[in-house]
Symmetry: C2
């Protein structure tokens, strides 16, 4: 893969200068057009030639209008980052539509380093590669333009530079200027023969969406021109719509899923005395577990979906009553802000992820994509169909981080819902909960039911199964959720302790 | 101050239960009305009775609709927080208009602890108190409702609880449930006699905006009812506009400031060979300084304001050329997002603050409040007049954190501006920079000039002076800014090394 970038490509100075003016004009104009466009641009610029990458990024910032280039250098993780899934920092830094971001030192390089140091084994590497690939695909599916560039230095050139750097280091001490290569680069050079095949493997595995472009780093002029040209041409192609829009994901074949909700036993109920006893015991257990979770840094994400008036609020309250306020947070999911609309639809959930040891409750969630957005026609079919696997991948990464992820659908039948609507209209402090929209949603019961069935069929995974909670009887529902959360927490804390 | 909260106030159980239903209805209804209102609510709930505070917050979350209460428990600083000014974490968590947030363990308690431990001296305490007071006033001026509650436990009651807690701790080991008081509370009790006078001093000093309400914590029912009632009545009063809107800040007296811009020597210039020499030397120096800054964790904020076409972009580019991309970030300030509009106008700048060791360049800034927003009539006079002292206080806190803050006004005369407009219209990649708006702004030159003069008069402080840069000659301007940034950085790094 790297052979073509070891041929000593170079650009003479006069040729370089002759091209520069027009290139810069084109770059700035493309940036300007991008601001009016409806897609984000993510440039991933990495390589074995770290100083070369850094120089190329600097050059890009010089040639383009640096105010509209957001460059992210991902180095050591901060402790806020360490408390969250590995990819969280990439998620939260994503450019919005009309914006351009450059990621350097991003996931590729970190993963390589971890494998070389033996921090992750082959299986771990494969899992990472799969996540990277899916993440990039999700971005591309969302309309993002992803440009991936790897700057490669042939071994003999690398050797020359290391030598020169070691020499320069001595004189640097005299005149006070800083050298180019640092220790890490020297270490990379020393393990060059191991690193290159591994890098090839990584690049090959992540080549399916946006393809990697490998740029030889020997000659700085060639390198910088090639990097800028690659970005420019991808951007121009996309702006002029020469590039076909990403193909919609194929709709999964097969007949309509049967209603999984039909299998929920709505007769389940719990008498008040029994309820009180179980609730109190479970709340006591949850109190202790949530403190243990804090101590062990086990964080949780609970997702609540369900019919209107199915009792989500009441269930959530029975959970939070048992916890210290510092240990939980509730995110009611409403319409996205304009900043959120400019990003991938999962971005607004990514940015909420809890810090280590805390529990986050989503009152409605990313599943809105395949429920209300689908049923109301707010999102096209290809997009919500894609969401199934995007969501599975997202939740899998939370689990891999050691988090508890639990999702609940609170199920009632239409008669019980109507009874509750009417009751609410008579209760002063619940009255505002009922609007005309609730009655409208009710009229689309069947559409929602088939959306729920398909959602469960596609996203109830071994790692994060859906729990369909019988909620015609509120007491039954509350105890069932309390117990499930306790069991889930205990299991996750146990796993952490055993680790 | 605390005497009135040491009288053994209590509420009998039947009375408590008789009131509860109506209280909850009123609370939830007020929350509902708030969502449609145009102000944020910040409840600061702290006290010497830490378990009491925690219980009261839990109770609030139970009584209100917890989904719309955002509770922040501020404990240990994360390293992302440590890298920024002390109050950054309070800034970034502020509720938007129509939202309610509860801060607990917030600035008051932390500051008390630090003073008791001897981490800050009396002068340090006074500085903190002044910042708190101003911060609260800025929020109130912006329309926020701030409710401050302190839960106090008389000493004999505190003693009883400590005893009980120590006893409970032993039995707790048997049945696995967690005790209420922890070590920190016991420590607070041990230093009770020192703590109470200090707490009084803190409360007195921060009593001028929203007044503190001290709530006795002996009886839980009394405590919870009082806390909820205090919040409810403040909220209701504000909602029904019984509370007068905050008085506008008085306009400073005195005649119109003379134009400070008249004093800028626009003849200053630099010949090209001299320019090249100085630029190269300064850029070399800046390269080294920015690396030193990273190593020492010295972060910087540079603010660029100036006439259209005064050359901000060119100046910024000469700075960034000399730095590694990981060391700087440029924030071009455009129209705020809807999320930003819901917050205090400084919020969108607070959230951008750089991590330790990095340099942030604002291309236009918070000074827009007293420039374009004033001149174009986008903000009323009381609001932009208030901004002067809010900005000074904000910048002072950055300086206290050890940051470099430098602000530049790039000055050209109207003739030079026109010349540049015309030139830009002929340059392909600069053409888009000129719009009809630029010509409109030009027509209001005098209004802007007097706004600039007044801005400089009010915000050029000893800590962060304005630097008015003569920019008719671009080379002169670039070298002057490069030099000022280098000198500023060297001074700040020197101070850090000496510390």
């Amino acid at each position: 893969m790297f052979e073509a970038a070891e041929v000593g490509s170079e650009v003479p100075k006069d040729e370089y200068e002759a091209q520069l003016d027009q290139l810069r004009i084109d770059l700035v104009n493309a940036q300007y057009d991008l601001q009016r466009a409806e897609f984000p641009v993510l440039v991933i610029l990495v390589g074995d030639d770290r100083p070369g990458v850094s120089d190329a990024v600097n050059r890009l910032n010089e040639w383009m209008d640096a105010r509209y280039v957001r460059t992210h250098v991902f180095g050591e993780h901060t402790d806020e980052e360490r408390g969250r899934p590995r990819n969280w920092r990439y998620w939260r830094a994503l450019p919005g539509r009309g914006q351009l971001a450059v990621y350097t030192g991003a996931w590729v390089l970190g993963t390589l380093g971890e494998h070389l140091r033996g921090d992750i084994d082959d299986a771990g590497l494969e899992r990472r590669l799969r996540h990277m690939e899916r993440f990039e695909r999700a971005l591309a599916d969302d309309g993002a333009l992803v440009v991936k560039l790897w700057i490669h230095l042939p071994k003999d050139e690398f050797k020359k530079r290391v030598k020169k750097a070691l020499k320069a280091q001595k004189s640097a001490k005299k005149n006070g200027s800083a050298g180019k290569l640092d220790e890490l680069d020297v270490r990379i050079y020393e393990r060059y023969d191991e690193m290159v095949p591994l890098a090839e493997r990584v690049l090959r595995s992540t080549n399916s969406g946006a393809a990697w472009r490998i740029v030889e780093g020997t000659d700085a002029r060639f390198r910088d021109l090639t990097v800028a040209r690659s970005i420019l041409s991808a951007l121009q192609a996309r702006l002029s719509d020469e590039a076909p829009p990403p193909a919609p994901a194929p709709a999964p074949a097969g007949p309509e899923a049967p209603s999984v909700l039909a299998g929920v036993d709505l007769e389940a109920s719990l008498a008040r005395p029994q309820y009180r006893k179980e609730r109190d015991a479970l709340q006591g257990r949850l109190r202790q577990l949530s403190r243990d979770a804090r101590r062990h840094g086990v964080s949780s994400v609970l997702v609540f979906e369900g019919w209107d008036a199915a009792g989500k609020g009441g269930v959530i309250r029975r959970l939070t009553q048992a916890m210290d306020v510092q240990d939980y947070r509730i995110v009611p999911v409403a319409a996205p802000s304009d900043e959120e609309l400019r990003h991938h639809y999962l971005w607004r959930f990514w940015r909420q992820l809890p810090r280590a040891g805390r529990l986050l409750i989503f009152d409605r969630s990313w599943y809105g994509r395949v429920l209300v957005e689908r049923v109301e026609g707010l999102t096209d079919e290809a997009a919500w169909r894609r969401a199934y696997s995007e969501i599975n991948d997202f939740e899998e990464q939370l689990i891999e981080h050691g988090m508890l992820v639990a999702k609940f659908w609170l199920h009632v039948d239409p008669e019980e819902q109507l009874r509750r609507f009417e009751l609410r209209e008579q209760t002063p402090y619940k009255k505002y909960k009922i609007t005309a929209e609730d009655y409208r949603n009710r009229a689309r019961w069947e559409d929602y039911e088939s959306a729920v069935s398909e959602m469960v069929a596609n996203t109830s995974t071994e790692l994060v199964p859906w729990r369909l909670v019988s909620a015609n009887d509120k007491r039954h529902a509350r105890v069932e959720v309390l117990r499930a959360v306790c069991d889930g927490l205990a299991e996750r804390i146990g796993a952490r302790e055993g680790a």
